[in-house]
Amino acid sequence: MARSSAPVTGPATVTSGPGPGRLARWGKMLSRELTTVAITMFGLLAITFLIARVIPIDPVLAVVGDNARPDVYEAARLALGLDKPLWQQFAIYVGKVFTGDLGTSILTAQPVISDIKRVFPATLELATLGTLVGITFGIPLGVLAAVKQGRWPDQLARFIGLFGYSIPIFWLGLMGLLLFYAKLGWVSGPGRISIAYQDFVTPVTGVILLDAAMQGEWDAFWNALSHLVLPSAVLGMFSLAYISRMTRSFMIAELQQQYVIAARVKGMSEARVIWRHALRNALVPLTTVIALSYANLLEGSVLTETIFAWPGLGRYITNGLLNADMNAVLGGTLVVGAIFIGVNLFADILGRIFDPRTR
């Protein structure tokens, strides 16, 4: 069930060896994927644009405020191009997007593209570390649960999974802050870096850990890490829950396969059967699961970012939405869509590499 793509590409792979035929096939696949991406992106653009225009919120108010005089209001309306018919507004918008111009955010008065360049690294940092936490603890936990199915390690894993899944993240975040920051003082509080260190690091990539390491500012690095530990652990808890549950079910399916029985009959050590054979096969569908959960975190977690004063993408988009800053919302949604599509594509390719039959 995990290899639904196998029947389609499988037999062809076996018959055709390396050479120009394989290259052409990859080219064909790539162009097909790219067409799908283009259509999806256009659809995303059209739908978000339409939603942004039909919601009963006046975007002009976001520009001029509640108490604007009629002439100021009218000038702002014209400047936004809202007097033109809807299809024209859409055509103008699409044209601009193609030249890399996502418009200017009303709230920050900055081009949306430079806003996103600023907020995305913060989310990237958080999501990457969160996913690492999820993988590091989630996969072993899932494997353990599958192997000891029905016994206490399985129950424990189920409890952890349910806990991570059902505890509201804002509660977990606040309690974490209360305990590890306020009471115990083990980690630093909200924000990406303490005020005392903030001028030490010049933003290059925008990812503070990377920038600090590259510039050899190790004090700033550790300070930033101590700010990052808690929010990424909170986010990681969520992805851990998901990854461990999925690992468990994939592993159970694999452990019932005949090759596992065959391996055991051959006298292979149990550890080798589990980690080398079963897990490797389970990794194929698991890649997609991890990739999607990573993409989910990359879109930014509004609640986590709010509690930890983390200037990331999720808060940027939500803020835009609450303030009718439609350029920011459209630009942000587009980026999130692109990330999802990109990560999906990447997981597809990775799946093909892991699955020997598609090589």
Binding site: I55, P56, L61, T136, S194, A324
Partner: protein, 529 residues
């Protein structure tokens, strides 16, 4: 995989060991946590939101300012003194000599003229505060003139009350900018607006060192400020959206001042020995707007009945204690002509009597648009319960802020619950919106709050408009007193509360005073011991 695990475990351990001694805030730097995501611009000609205006107040000087300690009396700022011509049309300001901008450029009358010219020509949201005196981009250079390097002459279009014009000059839009620096950064005739959104060109207590939208701004003290160097070297204001996070940061000493604690958090930190509270009256008025397009609200008895049907005391005690205080007239405390009369209290029997007189002995059904934020939702629910006692069935329609506002501006609401903040420190700002409606038609040019509630008041409009022409300050105050008492009786506005801003600070911080408007929240006197 194993390597990654080991690496993460190792680094986590090291972090846990090293950060036990966390960083306190630097001694010469004041660190605040505040919700600053309302800033859309730092340009004083454009900023019209609380946070943006507050930055401007600390970065720019104006011709005139108010003395918060003396009930907002007008005092000279950059203007050493001023005279008004007998016909109340021409003002002559003498500018202090020797003042320099942060850039080192000397401040002259030419900068004043340029600042007015750019504010009026750009005509952004706060632009009307100046243009209401008859300036436009074509006549400005005739109306605002530099007589010499230290003298500016300004001519207004009508013999307005001097208090009115001078009060308006205390608002952020009348800030004086460094014309040379701004012109050097201007692009395509934008008067440097694009550049000033993120930078500063002032002569005030601080310059903007760095501003990252939705993240933080850092201000650097101006040691050469004409009033003397600020009591601290730097002010850093961080955007912390979540009040609970602000509280934790404050308790740990990672920030010095928390600006947005909610009622419950304030009650909690009040108990702490190392934290103190500072409060100040804000101009915000919390009210209900009853749309008189609804036939029931067209009846004066019904409007009055609803004013008797709000349990002001209990809402104050249980929902907004410490952050709002009871207030029933349209001018907030601290404004010229403000009154303290509170004629209404919770009296369901009296309300029922009035409803019966209006032909509605069994009450009626009506809707209220409520934005889903604290404390608005809670107050609306309390009112719902109050009104039920006289048979008024209130249905609450929740919505987001921009949504309810869009509906309100289109006059399609029954009842709107919301806040109104004065635009500048003169009674006319609130009087105009609450008591002027020049044209009640849908094509009206001026869409005041009275218009939004379809309240047609030709007589009151005339009285309110005349009040800005009364040259004598005491007589002017008296006119507003009469106006407000009449307004309390007949208007479709149930005015309930005035906002009190509270901030919590570490005990080693002193000198922070919250002024009546964002224009008067000054950082310079803040000291850390």
């Amino acid at each position: 995989m194993r390597h990654i695990t080991r690496l993460i475990t190792a680094s986590t351990m090291i972090v846990l060991m090293t950060t036990a001694a966390y960083a306190q805030t630097p001694r010469d730097t004041v660190v605040m946590a505040k919700q600053i995501d309302d800033i859309i611009s730092l340009d004083p000609a454009e900023a019209f939101e609380f946070s943006g205006v507050e930055v401007g107040a600390n970065v720019y000087d104006k011709l005139i300012t108010v003395d918060v300690a003396k009930n907002n009396a007008l005092i000279g700022d950059l203007a050493e003194n001023w005279t008004v011509s007998p016909d109340n049309l021409t003002y002559t300001f003498k500018i202090r000599s020797g003042i320099k901008f942060h850039s080192g450029n000397p401040l002259t009358a030419a900068d004043v003229v340029y600042s007015f010219q750019r504010a009026v020509t750009l005509n952004k949201s706060p632009g009307f505060i100046l243009t209401q005196f008859g300036f436009d981009k074509d006549n400005l250079l005739q109306k605002v003139k530099a007589v010499n390097d230290t003298t500016v002459e300004i001519t207004v279009s009508k013999p307005f009350a001097p208090t009115f014009f001078l009060n308006c000059l205390t608002s952020g839009v009348a800030s004086i900018v460094d014309s040379k620096l701004v012109m050097a950064n201007a692009k395509d005739g934008d008067f440097g607006n694009g550049w000033l959104k993120l930078n500063s060109a002032g002569s005030g207590a601080y310059s903007v060192r760095a501003y990252r939208p939705n993240e933080q701004y850092a201000l650097e003290a101006n040691a050469n400020w004409y009033k003397g160097a600020p009591k601290n070297k730097r002010v850093i204001v961080r955007h912390v959206a979540e009040p609970a996070s602000q509280r934790l940061l404050l308790e740990k000493g990672d920030i010095d001042v928390a600006r947005n604690l909610s009622k419950d958090q304030l009650a909690a930190v009040r108990e702490k020995a190392d934290i103190g509270l500072v409060q100040g009256d804000k101009g915000y008025i919390l009210y209900l707007g009853l749309n008189t397009k609804n036939p029931n609200f067209a009846k004066p008895e019904v409007r009055e009945a609803l004013k008797w049907l709000v349990d002001y005391d209990s809402i104050e005690r249980n929902i907004v204690a410490g952050t709002y205080k009871p207030h029933e007239s349209f001018l907030p405390q601290g404004f010229l002509g403000a009154i303290t009369d509170k004629p209404y209290k919770f009296d369901p029997a009296k309300a029922k009597e009035l409803l019966a007189k209006a032909g509605l002995p069994n009450g009626f059904s009506v809707t209220m648009d409520v934005r889903s934020t604290a404390p608005i939702t809670d107050i609306a629910q309390a009112i719902q319960a109050n009104w039920a006692q006289a048979g008024v069935k209130l249905e609450l329609i929740p919505g987001d802020g921009k949504q309810t506002l869009t509906k309100y501006r289109a006059r399609t609401h029954d009842i709107y619950i919301g806040q109104w903040g004065p635009d500048y420190l003169d009674p006319h700002t609130n009087a105009e919106t609450f008591a002027i409606n020049e044209n009640n038609g849908d094509d009206a040019k001026s869409k005041t709050l009275a218009w939004r509630n379809a309240w047609d008041i030709p007589e009151m409009t005339k009285v309110t408009q005349a009040a800005v022409l009364e040259p004598d300050a005491d007589k002017r105050a008296a006119i507003y007193g009469v106006l407000q008492r009449e307004h309390q009786k007949i208007s479709p506005f149930v005015i309930m509360f005035q906002q009190v801003e509270v901030s919590a600070q570490r005990k080693n911080v002193s000198g922070w005073v919250i002024g009546p408007t964002s224009d008067t929240n000054l950082y310079a006197p803040i000291v850390k011991n």
